[in-house]
């Protein structure tokens, strides 16, 4: 039997306390897209057969001192923890199910293609913005970083402005 979701405000307070713990322990916020960057950077370095961080400006910040194991990276370990935490929560709540979440009139295949396309846009956008909803909007926003608020506003403005065009995906 499936349990109800936690009250969103309480879930938010929980995430806020986790973020506060990240500030207090590691001196940095939570993140997600940075972990993707590390994985891709390590992959690129492996394909090119180099560990020299200075060869590519795009991947350099994600290969500190030539270390190429993404497992030595705070964000990668944090995100792996989030995967386990999400799995555990879904399991205890009886929400563990192999399925594709989609709008009523949308085929599963279509939804998967759009999900991947959205992922490409988000991957590129997060790189340009130097962070995503976790690292930029939430972690930077709570510190009142100017760029984080620029990101929050433009991200949601674009989402709402384009929402009518994507209506068929979600209804």
């Amino acid at each position: 039997m499936t349990r109800k979701y936690l009250d969103p405000y309480l879930a938010g307070v929980g995430i806020g306390l986790v973020l506060l713990a990240a500030y207090a322990i590691a001196g940095r916020g939570l993140g997600a897209s940075g972990a993707f960057s590390s994985v891709v950077a390590a992959g690129t370095a492996a394909v090119r057969g180099t560990t020299d961080a200075s060869t590519s400006a795009a991947v350099a910040p994600y290969l500190p001192r030539g270390v190429v194991s993404p497992l030595s990276d705070w964000l990668v370990l944090e995100l792996l923890g989030a995967v386990v935490g999400g799995f555990a929560s879904a399991w205890f709540a009886g929400r563990l199910r192999t399925t594709v979440e989609r709008g009523a009139g949308v085929a599963a295949g279509t939804r998967v293609y759009f999900a991947a396309g959205g992922g490409v846009l988000m991957g590129f956008g997060a790189k340009l913005a130097r962070g995503c909803t976790s690292g930029q909007a939430l972690s930077g926003g709570a510190l009142l970083a100017t760029g984080s608020w620029i990101f929050i506003i433009t991200c949601f403005a674009a989402g709402y402005a384009l929402a009518p065009l994507a209506k068929r995906l979600w209804r």
Binding site: A11, W74, R102, V112, A115, G159
Partner: protein
């Protein structure tokens, strides 16, 4: 004193070991709140489900108010918590692309991982797309780089950008978020929400926010002295110069400016500050010293705050760096700084690749 990783309480390994634990709790609460479900997230854009807004802004308020007050109480030094840098246009364009992707994908990077972990294949598809998007960015980086680095404002807080005290900024964000919550609860009044709990939390947030204004109401910017200026005054052996290090004793032990005296902001209140002294205050960054500066000024002292704190001292005086492709102006500044560096027993570094110029100075690398 926290952050533990920055004040030497936690080594790199202990900090790394905390990452999966912090992440576990993050993933747990995301899933508990329903954010592993793409339909719930997409509902945000059609105002049919406001879970994203509620979770995100109550998390933001909790962390913002918590961080502000822990800093004020001297438990957490916010100067040492990494503040993302601001690049106006890249972040605006990145935000638009990201928002479009969020709408179409129905999940964001963090929630896609949690969705995939709970068996949602669309979450897996978003992850795959994300990796491709990052790769596409890296492959086209040489072409994008000029735009990527444009309109850089550095590490600037919204409050400093618009000339508001940090306490007032915290209160403003809280007010806007609470107003948003009130609207949200009207929009989906058909859903039974825990009204009592919600109101209690809102009251606590409002009280903390109002108190923040009183705790840090003044907007008076302090007088600054730059690291090279301070270095030359020390080298001139100015007899009236007094330098106070406002960090912890442990941080002082590891590194401090020559001739500085370690003092907590609290004991500075009882320190005699004759008006003929030139008092220089510094912390890791500027905010702690700026607060102490206001107190010292009220007592009639001729006080300055070290611009950029001990970190800037480190980069511009103690261990200056010269890029491989330095401009003549940078070379001239480096020559001067190298003189300082030798005087203070530091180590000037030459031939540093430009992209590592600042990376090496900050203690760890950054990223979302």
């Amino acid at each position: 004193m926290m952050p533990l990783s920055e004040t030497g309480m936690f080594g790199p390994l202990a900090t790394l070991a905390a990452a999966p634990i912090v992440g576990f709790a993050f993933g747990w609460f995301l899933e508990r709140g329903g954010l592993a479900n793409a339909r719930k997230l997409a509902g945000q854009f059609y105002l049919t489900d406001l879970t994203v807004f509620k979770v995100m802004f109550s998390a933001l308020l909790t962390a913002m108010l918590g961080a502000f007050w822990l800093d004020r109480l001297g438990v957490l030094d916010l100067d040492l918590v990494y503040l993302p840098e601001t690049f106006v246009f890249p972040q605006a364009v990145g935000g638009v692309l990201f928002g479009a992707g969020f709408l179409v994908g129905g999940l964001c990077p963090g929630t896609s991982c949690v969705a995939a972990a709970s068996g949602r294949l669309d979450g897996l598809a978003v992850i795959g797309g994300m990796l491709l998007g990052v790769l596409a960015f890296n492959l086209t980086f040489d072409w994008i780089a000029p735009f990527y680095d444009s309109t850089a404002l550095g590490q600037v807080r919204l409050t400093d950008a618009i000339g508001l005290s940090r306490g007032a900024g915290v209160a403003l964000v809280t007010a806007v978020a609470l107003a948003g919550f009130a609207v949200a609860s009207r929009l989906d009044s058909q859903l039974p929400t825990s009204n009592v709990q919600g109101r209690a939390l809102a009251l606590v947030a409002a009280a903390l926010a109002v108190a923040a204004v009183f705790a840090e109401g003044s907007t008076m910017p302090p007088r600054f002295i730059t690291a090279p200026d301070l270095a030359s005054r020390i080298m001139r052996r100015d007899p009236d110069l007094r330098i106070f290090d406002l960090r912890t004793a442990a941080e002082f032990e590891r590194f401090h400016i020559a001739g500085a005296q370690q003092l907590s902001p609290y004991s500075l209140r009882r320190e005699p500050l004759p008006p003929n002294w030139t008092v220089v205050l510094y912390g890791n960054g500027e905010s702690r010293a700026a607060r102490a500066w206001a107190m010292a000024r009220d007592r009639g002292a001729d006080a300055f705050v070290l611009r950029g704190g001990v970190r800037e001292w480190f980069v511009r005086v103690y261990e200056p760096r010269l890029a491989t492709d330095a401009t003549p102006a940078e070379r001239a500044e480096f020559e001067q700084a190298a003189g300082f560096s030798r005087f203070f027993g530091g180590k000037p570094l030459v031939d540093v690749p430009r992209n590592l110029l600042l990376a090496a100075a900050s203690i760890r690398r950054r990223g979302c």
